[in-house]
């Protein structure tokens, strides 16, 4: 299992455009991939799930990948987050 922690910095929160990018990235991998905000955990393979988190500026989201290609999935997500500019990754 691998994790990636991201702080949302975009003023509009985790909105539709970056959410779409994350979901389509997640769907390229076989691993189970989740997004967790506080005590809510949803699959990252569903746009409705991700948007239902309602993540706003300042929220910290943890992405969790579990499966054979988890390492590739996490690095692809890291790239997608950087590209969308929606947040910053905690090292």
């Amino acid at each position: 299992m691998m994790e990636l922690t991201v702080k949302i910095t975009n003023a509009e929160g985790l909105h539709a455009r970056p959410a779409r990018l994350l979901v389509s990235t997640a769907n390229q991998f076989r691993s189970d991939i989740f997004a967790q905000l506080n005590d809510q955990k949803v699959t990252l393979k569903s746009i409705l799930g991700v948007l239902s988190l309602g993540a706003e500026q300042g929220d910290v989201i943890t992405f969790i990948a579990n499966g054979e290609d988890e390492a590739q999935a996490i690095s692809a997500l890291q790239e997608a987050i950087a590209k969308s500019g929606v947040g910053v990754v905690y090292e």
Binding site: H15, V23, S46, I47, L48, L51, S52, G54, E56
Partner: protein, 574 residues
Amino acid sequence: MNSIRGISASAGIAIAKALRLVHGDWNIEKRTIQDEESEIDKFESALEKSRSELHRLIEQTRERLGDEKAEIFEAHLLVLDDPAFIDQVKEKITSERVNAEFALQETTIHLVEMFENLKSPYLRERAADMRDVGKRVLSHLLQQKMVDLADLSEEVVLIADDLSPSDTALLDKTYVKGFVTNKGGRTTHSAIMARSLEIPAVVGTKNALEQVNDGDLVIVDGIDGEVIVNPESSLVEHYQAKRIRYEKQKEEWNKLRDLPTATLDGHQVELAANIGSPNDVADVLANGSEAVGLYRTEFLFMGRGTWPSEDEQFEAYKSVLERMNGKPVVVRTLDIGGDKELSYLDVPKEANPFLGFRAIRLCLEKQDLFRTQLRALLRASVYGNLRIMFPMIATLEELMSVKAIYREEKRKLVSKGVAVSDNIQLGIMIEIPSAAILADAFAKEVDFFSIGTNDLIQYTMAADRMNEKVSYLYQPLNPAILRLIKHVIEAAHREGRWVGMCGEMAGDPRAIPLLLGMGLDEFSMSATSILPSRSLIGRLLHHDMRKLAAQALEMRSAEEVAHLVRQNVILQED
């Protein structure tokens, strides 16, 4: 023929066939089914048809309106393919043995509600995407044609209950000549979009959708807020002429958008706009405004259950300053109390709210909220050209207290290392006669004045303009008011300060020649008055207006002044 009245949301005239945009209600009947397999097949096939329809719309929208608009449908496509959506519908069909349409309706309503309950206003708006997707699949299940705004092929006037953000995003000016809605006002989303797209629109008609049929010929008069259904041919000709006149005039005005405001003999003044929220800035810029002359911050505090936080205020002020891109923004601190009530602010009822506990009087007592607003403003100041204005100042002591609080908050922020601009001008509203009379003393203590004529006139004439029995006393052109204004301008200029005006009088074409003659430096008005005012000022000679103003100050009544202006100034272009 039938005429419907509404609110003019976007000026212009449109004449075309009506197209009713009916989204339909969710009132699908629940049926118990025997064959789940065939219901699921039906649903799958509707999904497939929706999918190929969306692909086609994405292509077409990208070509016609660009990538950004096409993204709306790409988001729809993702929702359509979402397991959370598809699986819920299928699961409902199988476990509850209900028809596909009903399962789709229940799932969509459930997901729409989920979005509507989110805290972020941005994400709440995504409820519309979910609703759109549900409606699209339903239309295929029911084999009904859905009206697609991105798929029009002839000129129409849209008639709708209201237009959602996803509707307005797809308005294509080539085909949508105008629109009419039952709901809404001048500042609702659809009205703002109509003005930015320059599509004539009449909103808030209450029942246009019920009175118009598809294919009816409709005239939308966005200038006077009227909708005419199935007009006689003579009336069509009349409106065609009106449209040509308007478009010619607009073309003239548009040429002035990026020009400075100056009289024929080169005297320059500044035309600014009054706003109530960051969303108004687009309108302000589109109308060629040189500044925001009055940002009424109270809208940030109204229509909610708690005080807006410092950060929330900071974001709003920053947003306006950034969007104005270095142009001046005069922010008026909180003007509530009196007749403007807040549910979460406990102020006893008063017999005379306009003469009561409001604006700066309230802020000086409830200093916490005043200080919060000042901190938010100071923090935002580095994002643009901020000017702060205090309302309802009656005495110098009040101004001194306000300035002391301001300096204290500024010092505290700076000592904490927070960046604050060094060039924040401070000013006061001149709306209480005592401040107008003592303007020479006030001028030594501030950087600018802005004359709030709505209140100044009602306090000077002792007449509530909302009271029909005495509203005749609301006389902007009364020489008493003009002399007061002249006194304020002269007092400020002697100290090298500038004077603006942010009441309705500043955009009144009968008053502008006189205000110009008296030396007013800045005129702040509703955004739509800016270009007509710039056009008017460009046809006047400052030299003549000074003489005209001097004459007006010697008149005995508002009637005489109005007559004098009519005699000497051509207010309308022919």
